[in-house]
Amino acid sequence: MTWLARSTDLVSGAATVALGAAVLWAVSDFPVSAPVASDPALLPRLLGAGLIGCGALLVVVHLVRRRLGLVTADDVDSVPLDLPEEAEQAREAGRTAQAQAPAVDWGVVGGLSVAVTVYAVAAFQLGFIVSTFAFVSAASLILGRDRSRRSLLTLGIFAAAVATVAHLGFFELLSVRAPDTPLP
């Protein structure tokens, strides 16, 4: 288990505190309204304070648990819902299966995330049909699709069909104005 995996609560608690502080800072220049009911910063201030409090509590709970030797963040006991024994076993089996699963394929996760981001930009700047065709083909290969000639041919037909149907469905059927792009 990496340090990050062991310290997710610490990191998320600290991030929550930082976000709460950022919210309080963002509304700090709001004029203080005399009647509290018409104060536009009332809710953001309450939320900012709540985030700081909860984030700090998460950090403290994590540190206390670590001191007691309880590293795992998953505390099922904190939900006072009596799960039947079988449900607990099913959850336990799921957890065991997850623990035994092979390591995360970061190459595929990263590759797909980049492909999605590039597609989200290119679809409305370059051309929806071309980008969709390229994305479906690339994403499928990133996910490990077989690269035999027959499989690639099927993929090409599938990608072309998805691009056409998505364009017709969203831009023709729903009458959404298509962006002006150099490519179709």
Partner: protein
């Protein structure tokens, strides 16, 4: 008066003219089918399928839109039972309990019978809850028409507290998720003063963050990335062949009391703001185990266990729609998405909906009933073919979902900005999963945030900004006080339980060390 006039039989007749068109009927059929296919693929949830399809309903009439979305919802709820029974992998979180008895049945060659029991139980539970919705909806709406800001604030707070309380492994994380949802919901121009809040000087944010763009990112795009993270794209399941689905018909009569009881439990639990089908099926299964004449058979392929969880799971749909339609307070994340879709259609759920749009409300009930009938027919006739859905290559399916998410986000307002919001929401959703923070409270808070804030500020205005006087109004309200007491109990109970657990653990440790010391002394 009008509300009462709209109650009873008219709710089941008035909307027929809206629903009984070839287009709407076809849409219901197709949406149930689509929902079943998506729900049958492990990891793809009902929330995801509904969220991804919301943009496609924009050009439809409100009746068609709600028919499509509820059809997909019901279909996905049932579809999730298939992998739960056949490969011991729940298609949706609400189907976790179906694996307990469904899979052992499948292992001993009774997969078809188990699926049949699941379909029939889901159908009967679903129909029961719709009938309750039809009769209790107008009554609740009539009751809620007297609600003021104090009552609405209290009920919205309860909904948020319940979901923060039950939706994840840690209540603290549930609260953080809800606070973040409220924060995102507060972005944009303040409705009372017009001042922009937390907009980072982005003009597109003045109108607030688009709810559907966030939902598509959180439940659609991020779930694809999560599936890839969990290496689900490499899975290929070969479930056993499904046979003798119809043999389940003769199981219904012996299971009639299980189905009746689970229908009531499912509908009641579903109606509690914040609770949902997963909780309903857990409670129903637990109750059945306590009441069963053969509790030793539960967990080893007992039809009653499967029936209890599947009935309650589907009955919760009508229950959660009850509070969504009559109070305007969504029961869970999925009804929050439906609520958002209705608002986009120009329909404002709440007590006035039953008064002003009784034909639309009626059409929703009829659509739900028809969707349940479609579920029964398709489920019984097509179960053999649906099992093959598990073989669909994920390498093609996931890119297809991504395209639907991105194009759908753009279609919301014809703006690439919403696509950016969806990408950010997807990243947040992925990080939430990694940090063990539940997503449902965020989505619910996003829709409940404006209700909470506007009613809180209205309450303060009515009391001239006096916080103590506003608290007094809340405390003296016959609805507000009990609701607030329950909300407070939700926060206090876990702390009391944790303290008791700690005391017990400490006592056990002390006992153990005392025994060890005594042993050591004796040995010495």
């Amino acid at each position: 008066m009008t509300v009462l006039a709209a109650s009873g039989g008219s709710l089941y007749t008035e909307g027929w003219s809206l629903v009984a068109t070839p287009t709407t009927l076809l849409l219901i059929l197709v949406s149930v089918l689509v929902g079943m296919v998506v729900g049958a693929i492990p990891g793809l949830t009902a929330n995801m399928s509904v969220a991804v399809l919301v943009p496609l309903t924009f050009t439809m009439s409100p009746t068609e839109a709600i028919a499509v979305l509820t059809g997909v919802w019901l279909g996905a709820m049932y579809g999730g039972t298939l992998p739960a029974i056949l490969i011991n992998m729940p298609g949706t979180p609400a189907d976790l309990m179906s694996t307990i008895d469904g899979y052992p049945m499948s292992r001993r060659g009774e997969g078809g019978r188990a699926i049949g029991i699941g379909v029939l139980s889901s159908f009967l539970g679903g129909v029961f809850s719709v009938l309750v919705l039809g009769s209790a909806g107008p009554v609740l709406a009539s009751f809620a028409s007297n609600f003021g800001s104090a009552e609405y604030f209290a009920v919205a707070l309860l909904g948020l507290s319940v979901i923060a309380f039950v939706s994840g492994s840690s209540m603290l994380k549930g609260i953080i998720s809800a606070l973040l949802g409220l924060l995102v919901g507060s972005i944009g121009r303040d409705v009372m003063t017009g001042q922009s809040r937390l907009t980072l000087d982005q003009q597109e944010l003045y109108g607030g963050v688009d709810f559907i763009a966030v939902v598509v990112g959180i439940f659609g795009l991020s779930e694809v990335i999560e599936q890839v993270y969990a290496r689900q794209h490499r899975l290929s399941e070969r479930p056993q062949e499904v046979r003798r689905v119809w043999s389940a018909v003769k199981d219904v009569l012996p299971l009639r009391w299980v189905i009746a009881r689970s229908s009531v439990i499912g509908t009641l639990v579903g109606a509690i703001p914040g609770a949902g089908p997963t909780i309903a099926s857990v409670i129903s299964y637990g109750t059945q185990k306590q009441l069963s004449k053969h509790p030793e058979k539960m967990g080893k392929g007992a039809p009653e266990g499967l029936s209890a969880s599947d009935t309650a799971n589907n009955a919760a749909t009508g229950g959660s729609l009850l509070t969504t339609l009559s109070l305007g307070i969504p029961g869970d994340a999925l009804t929050a998405i439906l609520l958002g879709a209705l608002i986009i259609q120009g329909v404002q759920p709440g007590p006035l909906l039953f008064e002003n749009e009784s034909a639309l409300v009626s059409s929703i009930f009829i659509s739900l009933l028809l969707a349940n009938v479609c579920l029964l027919l398709i489920g019984m006739l097509g179960a053999r073919h649906f099992a093959k859905v598990l073989n669909v290559p994920r390498t093609l399916l996931y890119p297809l979902i991504v395209v639907a998410c991105i194009a759908g986000a753009y279609a919301l307002n014809g703006s690439a900005f919403d696509v950016g919001v969806t990408l950010v929401a997807a990243l947040v959703g992925f990080l939430f999963s990694r940090a063990g923070i539940p997503k449902a409270p965020l989505v619910l808070a996003l829709i409940l945030g404006p209700i909470l804030e506007s009613n809180l500020r209205r309450l303060l205005s009515l009391n001239d900004g006096d916080v103590l006087a506003s608290a007094g109004t809340l405390a003296t309200s016959p609805v507000g006080l009990p609701v607030l007491v329950v909300t407070a109990a939700l926060f206090i109970l876990p702390m009391v339980n944790a303290a008791r657990e700690r005391r017990r653990a400490r006592a056990e440790t002390d006992d153990e060390s005392r025994r060890t010391r005594t042993r050591a002394r004796e040995e010495h």
